[in-house]
Amino acid sequence: MNVRRIWGVLLQEYYVTIHSLEILVDVFFFPILNIVLFGLISMYLSGSDPEAARNVLLGMVLWQIIWIIAYSVAVESLWNIWSKNLSNMFIAPLKLSEYVIAHFLSGSVKALILLMGAIIFCSFAFGFNVFDIGFSTLFLLFTLFAFFAFTVGLVVLGLIFCYGLRIQALSWSLIFIFQPLSAAFFPLDAMPQWLQAIAYLLPPTYGFEAARFALEHGGVHIQLFATGFILTIMYLIPAVFVFRYLFNRSRNSGQFARNEA
């Protein structure tokens, strides 16, 4: 693992972001718009159900961590493919692990910046302090969601390497499947039984439950976080192998080079 090569990919990420309105819109504008929308819904609900109101807004703020990191890992490689520059990256001594770790770090930094902005914005605009859930819970949530998003982003990126740009839409859409399934905006027991069975398999479900617990009762729900992290590891390890398999398969089939044809 070489720090300068990781820095090189991060530098590229930084340059592409500041020059691309599309990325700024995807990573900052839409998330803030969603937070504003959910903040207004939260204000509307606060009269009848203050708890639901806070859960909805908290869920949307925390969801941005998952969205931005999954987006960074998968979508931002597309800029290299669209520009026919991905081969240039991989004919340099850059390792695959350095490349994906750089994208993970880049997504984490973006998510952190947005989260800080969202926390300040929610405090001023809606009188909602995200830090009410506690710094420790917020830190654990960030870590849990970051690794889950990385897992999803990694598989999507592998699929794009392997099957080409015809499935590129997955890179910004697939992650949204997990939004309703992991009970981002409402308690798990509000879901139908059969959907709960699916939700229990997803790490973010435990994170969102732990966030709601912290908001209501205070403190860190160790058991929920432990389950969430164990599940994340159980998905992340095979995801790394699947990603490597898909990358090698794309080099074997010639698809990796054809992606830029």
Binding site: V16, H19, N85, N88, I91, G254
Partner: protein, 312 residues
């Protein structure tokens, strides 16, 4: 045929390289080497397997079997070390269009861990006369400027070998000529080795020390451009005359010499170079007024066409 006899050190050695796409064999057991300081042309018709080979040499496509060795080290086992000492430039790969020339180069300077990256980049930008465009977004550059930036990228790590895939494609003749001159200068200054693919036989003849012809995944010819051109043996004798067309035509028919009258005062005679004196001697006695004699020697393009048309 092999270059091994006059090679003291090969920077790239390829042995029995095979690539299959399903049941289709794109590269069929090719072996060759690139000697240090030499430019080796890698030629062939479309679909011959050149690009697949280059992709395998760079590790972005995996081979089915065979070995690739850079500087005596197996590429598969020393990927990072080998890639640090080589580079590539292709007309078909571009840099990131959204970001500036300098930003693109800074990224690659980090990937190649270039020491004193800003100084290195500025020196290359000056050398390639692109310094005035350094802060423009890459997609705003002309084809010629992009080619020069791609070449700068390929020189950032001071490579010992560059794989060039049609670097002058889509360039106008003037810019292509300047690019070739730069490549020649780099070879002289740095003792650079280059594996060079192109469809432009004139530039291959100009800069390549050795040429490999690939067809249907196999190497079908491998030699210096001069020897390959000589191997064809057929030249074209072009005669211009002011009178006596009938006499010339009668004589050539009698002698069984194939010919084509381009105009009433010009005839083209494809023939073995050794037979030219005899033809001219015969024609000097038939009562015609020959005013110009031109011998068109075979070019690398003729070799290419023969191979493409399966005449070799």
């Amino acid at each position: 045929m092999s270059f091994a006899g006059n090679v003291s050190e090969a920077v790239l050695e390829v042995h029995d390289l095979v690539k299959d796409y399903g049941s289709f064999r794109a590269v069929n057991g090719i072996s060759f080497s690139v000697p240090r300081g030499k430019i080796v042309g890698f030629l062939g018709p479309n679909g011959a397997g050149k690009t697949t080979t280059i992709q395998m040499l760079l590790g972005i496509t995996l081979s089915n079997s065979g070995s690739i060795r850079y500087f005596g080290k197996e590429f598969a086992n020393h990927r990072g070390e080998c890639l640090q000492r080589i580079n590539a430039a292709s007309a078909f790969n571009t840099l990131l269009g959204r970001i500036t020339v300098r930003e693109n180069l800074l990224v690659f300077a980090e990937l190649y861990q270039v020491f004193d990256r800003k100084k290195t980049i500025d020196a290359l930008l000056e050398r390639f006369e692109i310094i005035d465009h350094a802060d423009e977004q890459y997609w705003h550059l002309s084809s010629g400027q992009r080619t020069r930036v791609n070449l700068i990228k390929s020189l950032l790590n001071d490579p010992e070998l560059i794989l060039m895939d049609e670097p002058t494609a889509s360039l106008d003749p003037d810019i292509a000529d300047k690019t070739l001159s730069l490549i020649e200068e780099l070879r002289e200054e740095r003792g650079l080795s280059i594996l060079y693919t192109s469809h432009n036989m004139t530039e291959v003849t100009r800069i390549c020390d050795e040429v490999i012809f690939l067809d249907r995944g196999k190497i079908v010819a491998k030699d210096t451009p001069e020897k390959l051109m000589r191997s064809i043996g057929i030249a074209t004798l072009v005669l211009s005359f002011s009178s006596g067309q009938e006499n010339i035509e009668r004589h050539l028919k009698e002698q069984g010499v194939p010919h084509t009258f381009v105009t009433h005062q010009c005839v083209e005679i494809p023939t073995n170079e050794n037979a030219i004196p005899e033809i001219l001697f015969g024609l000097s006695h038939v009562g015609s007024s020959i005013i110009d004699i031109e011998v068109r020697k075979p070019t690398l393009e003729d070799v290419f066409l023969q191979i493409a048309r399966k005449e070799v």
